[in-house]
């Protein structure tokens, strides 16, 4: 009775992609010399989650590769192995391979099997290296001790779990049982009535030479959100253990140390810290479980639990004495339960391991070192829990539908308001009050709904550390990326579309801007170049700056290149005009074409993409000091601040961001060129005049240009004066596509619905400024 898993695939793809992104971010953030355990754990968890769900969904290639990755990560986080820079590289690469696999499963692209095998081999190799190191290193006795105990004795584990519905209905449980049988002798103590495909309580007994961590993960995949426990049955194995531990020479392994403190949870801070750290260190999953999932039997599983009274008394003298006595593993179910209640959630793996007693001499030190980090561990756990609880995944269509509906509501509300204002005194006061209330509420509602689509720009920024890292390695440059304003929010559709242009700008800064270290030293600069990425709000725009402290743009070289390409340039051009030349198609000053840049495609595409989003790019640069590219974007594509203007009986919307000023012209201000094109003098500047009613073949209410209004527009540096009959007002308008049911119209960028329900067209300022230019050229 297989259920159709494919309906969940998209969720899996989304989640895995997120996990990969998170993993990459953490890896890049990782300090190789001194890795933060918390980060290592987070990386491990990400890999672990991908493996888990990949296994559940039957993407075995993903699961296999992640498994190898996870093994290595696991060893590092358990400090069996030391983190090295080449490992981080390998991790990043395997992340790429995994992403490729994900894409392939989604039907995009194919997996390069050779690459997969290469990375698997590399990870295995790294893992093997470490094993040698670990065994050889005298500081890691735990690494030795555990295998030794495993070989020495067969251990019995009691395993209890409740499978998830999906894994029960699929083959998850069947596979798990097979896997467990591979470890040793498996007895099924109890199982659900409709096994193996029923969702119910399983109780197994496994006799194996292995350790719990060998199979705990498998159980975790199958079990419902942490509803599983593994406990070692000490009664069978105690004798062996004692024998072993009497001889055990080394320092205690961390986990062994925790075992002692867990029962004492209600007491000193150091112990709580240890317990928290233990829970977190071992496995993040257990941490967020609701306590209710823990049954008394499961809690009491740690066999090393001392008795209540003994426990407290036991600790105090021990730390003082620092003796090397060995704690006898005794079991007291009732007491153990009482102890465990205050714990956020016990983690079975740790607990089971805690049954291995350790020399107590080391304990105080262990506690002290752990006590330093408790607050942080707790805080990060709490924030992780909050983040997962406070967001939901909703399809964009639903949000867009909501936005459309709210847009309708706003229009209806405006219509009602207009009607009521026409009724004047006839309208009852209560109706007017109600309408005023409705207006406020709809405005709030619209704002909230619009904010759903807004996302922090960190979604884009987060990919750049990797880009910079890879590219600077490739180019042999030393570059530091500084970002600020990651929380600046902008519309989701813009987020998606800004990523490519920004990547291009950053690659450009890296390739052309930042110099090689030798050159930088020669120029008296820090050999490490800096690229700054900054986002902030300014007016109704979001501004994204990409700056570098590199060589700056070579004005003379650009001019020379432009002449070579037959562009019309002169030495009198301002810097900004010269720099804007690099946005011309096919323009590149790079002497050498690299695979990074230099082909001259790119900057023109960047500008075109940004303009298509209603934004613009500006360049500031100083030779030898650096370059700054500033991208200005509207906050959203869905809403626009507009000025409504009247031409004849029609209303048009002008995007406010393009409007510089508006003025009533004097007859003397307007001159003609060749008796065709008109220009107007505004503050000493001659601007081409576009008469809207002539361009659109409408009837103006005025016979003379001095009766109407001239609106001065600035579209990416191209200025023009637009003649309209009158200015009507300023609105926030919801942009509607004209092309959805009609076609593109020259001079019109879209449509909107006004308060009275009528359609108003939004003017395409760039196109209108272009019309002015072509008029001038005809005349000139």
């Amino acid at each position: 009775m297989a259920i159709d898993m494919s309906q969940f695939y998209q969720v899996f793809f989304d989640e895995s992609a997120e996990h990969l992104a998170a993993m990459e971010a953490l890896l890049l953030d990782l300090d190789v010399e001194n890795p933060d355990t918390e980060q290592l754990n987070a990386i491990f968890r990400a890999a672990h989650s991908i493996k888990g769900s990949a296994g559940t969904f039957g993407f075995t290639d993903l699961a296999d590769t992640t498994h190898i990755l996870e093994n290595l990560l696991d060893r590092i986080r358990k400090q069996e192995l030391e983190l090295r820079a080449d490992m981080v590289d390998a991790f990043l690469e395997s992340g790429d391979v995994l992403r490729e696999m994900l894409e392939a499963h989604q039907g995009r692209g194919a997996v390069d099997q050779a690459a997969v095998e290469a990375i698997c081999a590399r990870l295995r190799q790294l893992s093997a290296d470490e094993a040698v190191v670990a065994v050889a290193a005298p500081v890691e006795p735990a690494g030795q001790a555990r295998p030794a105990v495993n070989l020495a004795s067969k251990r019995i584990f009691d395993i209890q779990f409740v499978p998830t519905e999906a894994s029960a209905k699929g083959d998850g449980v069947v596979h798990l049982l097979e896997d467990l049988r591979a470890f040793g002798q498996l007895d099924i103590l109890s199982q659900p009535d409709d096994a193996p495909h029923g969702v119910g309580f399983w109780q197994l007994r496994l006799t194996t030479a292995g350790v719990e961590s060998d199979f705990a993960d498998q159980i975790d995949f199958v079990a419902d959100n942490g509803a599983w426990r593994v406990a070692e049955d000490k009664s069978a194995a105690t004798a062996d253990e004692f024998g072993f531990f009497a001889e055990a020479p080394g320092a205690p392994d961390e986990e062994q140390a925790y075992g002692f403190f867990e029962p004492l949870v209600e007491r000193p801070l150091g112990e709580i810290a240890a317990a928290v750290e233990a829970a977190d260190d071992d496995d993040g999953y257990g941490f967020f479980e609701p306590l209710s999932a823990v049954t008394p039997a499961q809690i009491t599983e740690p066999t090393a639990l001392p008795e209540d009274g003994d426990g407290y008394g036991f600790f105090a003298p021990l730390s003082a004495a620092g003796g090397d006595s060995i704690v006898p593993p005794t079991l007291d179910e009732g007491e153990g339960y009482g102890f465990f209640v205050p714990l956020p959630a016990p983690v079975p793996e740790t607990v089971a391991e805690s049954s291995e007693p350790a020399p107590l001499a080391q304990l105080p030190t262990a506690v002290a070192s752990l006590a330093r980090e408790p607050a942080r561990a707790v805080r990060s756990a709490a924030s992780a829990a909050a983040a997962s609880d406070s967001s939901i995944r909703v399809s964009i269509e639903k949000v867009d539908q909501l936005i459309n509906l709210v847009g309708e509501l706003v229009i209806t509300q405006a219509m009602l308001l207009q009607t009521s204002s026409q009724m004047q005194e006839n309208a009852p006061e209560r109706l007017l009050n109600g309408l005023a209330q409705l207006e406020r509420n709809t405005r709030d509602l619209q704002e909230s709904v619009m904010s759903i689509r807004m996302m922090p720009i960190s979604f884009v920024f987060s990919r750049f550390p990797r880009v910079v890292r890879d590219l600077s390695n490739k180019l042999g440059k030393q570059v530091e990326l500084k970002t600020s304003g990651e929380t600046t929010e902008l519309d989701k559709s813009l987020i998606e579309r800004i990523a490519d242009p920004l990547t291009h700008l950053i690659r450009n800064s890296l390739d052309h801007g930042i110099e090689l270290p030798e050159k930088r030293i020669a120029a008296g600069k820090n050999p490490v170049g800096t690229i700054t990425l900054k986002a902030y709000h300014q007016g109704g725009n979001i501004v994204i700056e990409v700056g570098d402290d590199g060589a700056g743009l070579p004005r003379q070289k650009i001019l020379a290149k432009a002449r070579e390409r037959g562009l019309q340039v002169s030495d009198q051009m301002t810097d900004s005009e010269v720099f804007n030349l690099i946005f011309e198609a096919g323009f590149s000053t790079a002497e050498q074409i690299t695979d990074v840049s230099g082909r001259g495609v790119g900057m023109d595409v960047v500008r075109r993409n940004i303009q298509a989003m209603g934004g613009r790019v500006e360049i500031e640069s100083m030779f030898g000091v650096g370059t700054r590219m500033t991208v200005r974007l509207p906050l959203t594509l869905a809403i626009l601040d507009g000025m409504s203007v009247a031409v004849g009986d029609q209303t048009y919307i002008l995007p406010l961001s393009y409007v510089v000023e508006s003025l009533q012209p004097e007859a003397d201000d307007i001159k003609t060129l060749s008796n065709q094109a008109r220009v107007m003098q505004v503050r000493g500047e001659y601007l081409p005049v576009v008469v809207l009613h002539e361009v659109f073949n409408l009837k103006s209410g005025w016979s003379d240009l001095t009766q109407g209004i001239m609106v001065v527009l600035d579209a990416d540096g191209a200025k023009a004066a637009l003649f309209v009959d009158a200015l009507l007002g300023q609105h926030q308008v919801v942009i509607k596509s004209l092309e959805a049911n009609y076609r593109r119209v020259n001079g019109i960028s879209g449509a909107t619905i006004m308060g009275d329900g009528h359609v108003a067209l939004i003017l395409d300022v760039s196109a209108i400024a272009g019309m002015a230019k072509s008029n001038m050229q005809k005349a000139g």
Partner: protein, 166 residues
């Protein structure tokens, strides 16, 4: 049905399957279009002009938040008196994934026609190209021009769509 016996054609099985058509008048002519292409029928309201559009494209209206272009077929085909009264009707069509409004003189009724009732139209030249005509049907001495409205609306002639096929 009357038309079937009148036609004297042996009715095949396909012919018995009747489709419903909406009929409307343009001047003195009666047209029939597939009713499944019709979204709704509404009164005429003055649309917003589109600059430099051909005269038969009256402009765009707000149809519950969607911007819908309005085509006056009477102007396009030079039929009837061009006047806009409270009784002027706009047929909102749903063709090729687009919503388009069509101004007609009046909507008559909904009729069922089987394939055999639709006879091929003779070739003729005029503003209305025969390639948009599926055939002619007659009923109660009325002749109806059965029109492939989707093909007509998406054609380059109508100038409604960028890169429309001819």
């Amino acid at each position: 049905m009357e038309a079937m016996t009148h036609g004297g054609v042996t009715a095949g099985e396909d012919d018995l399957i009747a489709s419903e058509y909406l009929t409307f008048t343009l001047g003195n002519e009666e047209y029939a279009i597939d009713i499944l292409k019709v979204q709704e029928i509404r009164g005429y309201e003055p649309p917003t002009l589109i600059a430099n559009a051909p005269p038969f494209i009256k402009g765009v209206i707000n149809l519950r938040g969607i911007i819908v272009p309005i085509v006056d077929l009477r102007i396009k085909f030079n039929l009837g008196k061009i006047e806009y009264t409270p009784f002027t009707v706009v047929v909102i069509l749903n063709v090729a994934g687009r919503v388009i409004g069509v101004v007609v003189d009046s909507v008559s009724d909904v009729i069922s026609l089987t394939a055999s009732q639709i006879r091929p139209a003779p070739d003729f030249s005029g503003t209305f190209d025969t390639k948009y005509i599926l055939g002619l049907a007659s009923m109660d001495s009325r002749m109806m021009i059965v029109t492939d409205i989707e093909r007509l609306m998406t054609s380059a002639d109508m100038e409604l769509i960028d890169n429309a096929s001819a």
